[in-house]
Amino acid sequence: MSNWVTRRRTLLAVAAGSIVAAGAGLAAALGRFFIPDVLYESDRRFSVGRTDQFPKGTGTLLAERRLFVFHAEDGFYVVSAVCTHLGCNVVHEEKKGFACPCHGSLFGEDGVVVRGPAPSPLPRFAVTLSRQGELVVDSRRRVGVDYRLRV
């Protein structure tokens, strides 16, 4: 054993180790380069319009934003229109729920998977009221089924 651990081998291991460590550090630092810091895409937090654009008892599809704004008896809530299976746009059918045309996933009115390959419910996003009286959706903030914005 002591024969194996020679000064030469130890020095070699230290040298090789420092080269690997330096390389790994450089790779990690340069790897960060490939993750963009500025995104030229639509804001994740955005206004969808004034509250009176969404009459009580309706659900409105905002195709550009790929989400639904619902105005229920007890307030507003926002459901994503992006199927959790493979990212297709779901279609809302009154009283039936949300249907994905791509692979037949069906979600209930509450966004929970009823059948099909979708692995998780349609996400719901936080919605707040701006000072100008506009609904502001924050698609980075997921909320539960009970979430409502009361106006």
Partner: protein
């Protein structure tokens, strides 16, 4: 001044040996040329027979050459920006002489290469050609298959039509199923959350530069290892008479190349590459399909996302990579469907049939809502 002497000096400075007529000059012609010396100067009669390899590796390489040339040509007109990409596709179709032909040739050669690389893998398996000393070259080959798929996939987005946009939506959604890091990989691949300008640019650079360079490097390694590992796999017994590669091998390669060019040209003349309406993130086609070679994967994902999209394909690739180190008995090398390898060949055949089955079902038997549809009803 002596004209013929002047000309001979120029030609002689480029090609050291004249037109090879004797056995000796034929051998040295192969050795003294950069392009030719990649190949052996003498080859066995057996390896020249078409049935030995079916020429699948060479055809894959020829298709890659065609793809490089047509791809470089297309780059002169293609603009990788969401506002311009689709318009440049329309230009290629209507405003560029032979633009459609060039695009068609690129498209069909790309599809063809996915097929021939896969068939080449099957050939190498069924002839037991991955066994020692060729284990590592098999691993390189599997990497080349993955690279071929990646090249094809990144190219799929570039037309920026509905077909491209939703195929990449589905494809990158499958990526997101990787546990823990799936969303991050998708973000890195797209350069953002959505398929937009950043994603198009990334796919463009990957498709036109990074992946082709990796391909060239790995193909060079693949060819070099073929030579270093002793040429084509062959059974140890029997006579292996050798003949000069010039002209026996070169002539066959030339003929094969001409056939490949003719087929791609014919396909490009007869069948137009599809181009649907411009990419529209608000309108999902029903059904949205991945590129055809990933439809087997999409079919699996239909049953279970994590299992079908991540676990099964990862295990498959891992099994392929480890195969030559696990199945290392030196039996049945270089023989089609060797009796000694009946078990291994049967297992592999089942896997190949499964891949083909899921791909065919995903391509021809799935209609709106991914419901089962008979192809003749559609």
């Amino acid at each position: 001044m002596d004209d013929s002497g002047f000309l001979r000096r120029i030609v002689g400075s480029v090609v050291r040996v004249g037109w090879p007529r004797t056995r000796r000059t034929r051998l040295s012609a192969m050795l003294s040329s950069l392009l030719l010396h990649v190949q052996p100067s003498r080859v066995t009669v057996r390896s020249l027979r078409f049935g030995t390899t079916l020429g699948l590796g060479l055809v894959s390489f020829f298709l890659f050459v065609i793809l490089t040339l047509t791809g470089l040509a297309l780059m002169l007109y293609y603009v990788p920006h969401p506002d311009a990409a689709y318009r440049s596709m329309r230009d290629l179709e209507h405003a560029v002489t032979f633009g459609m032909l060039m695009r068609n040739a690129h498209r069909w050669a790309a599809h063809g290469m996915v097929v021939t690389v896969f068939l080449h893998l099957c050939r190498v398996f069924f002839t037991g050609a991955y066994k020692a000393p060729r284990e590592f070259n098999w691993v390189v080959g599997v990497s080349l298959l993955l690279l071929t798929l990646a090249l094809s996939f990144t190219g799929y987005l570039l037309p920026w039509d509905q077909l491209a946009f939703w195929a990449i939506t589905v494809g990158t959604a499958i990526v997101a199923y990787v546990p823990f890091v799936g969303d991050d990989i998708r973000f890195l691949l797209l350069g953002g959350h959505d398929i937009g300008g950043a994603a198009l640019l990334r796919f463009y650079v990957l498709h036109c530069l990074i992946l082709p360079l990796a391909m060239v490097g790995l193909v060079a390694l693949h060819f070099w290892r073929v030579r270093k590992d002793g040429g084509l796999a062959a059974p140890g017994h029997g006579r292996n008479r050798r003949v000069p590669a010039w002209p026996h091998l070169l002539f066959r390669e030339l003929v094969l190349f001409m056939v490949v060019v003719a087929i791609i040209n014919g396909a490009a003349l007869l069948f137009d590459a599809p181009l649907e309406g411009p990419a529209d993130p608000t309108r999902t086609p029903n059904p949205a399909r991945a590129p055809w070679y990933f439809l087997g994967l999409q079919e699996l994902v239909h049953y279970g996302a994590l299992l079908g999209g991540v676990v099964v394909p990862s295990l498959l690739v891992l099994a392929l990579m480890l195969l030559p180190y696990v199945d290392h008995q030196p039996a049945g090398i270089g023989v089609w469907f060797a009796r000694e390898r009946r078990f291994a060949n049967s297992v592999f055949a089942v896997v190949v049939l499964a891949v083909v089955y899921f791909t065919v079902v995903g391509t021809f038997f799935r209609g709106p809502n991914w419901a089962w549809v008979w192809p003749w009803v559609r």
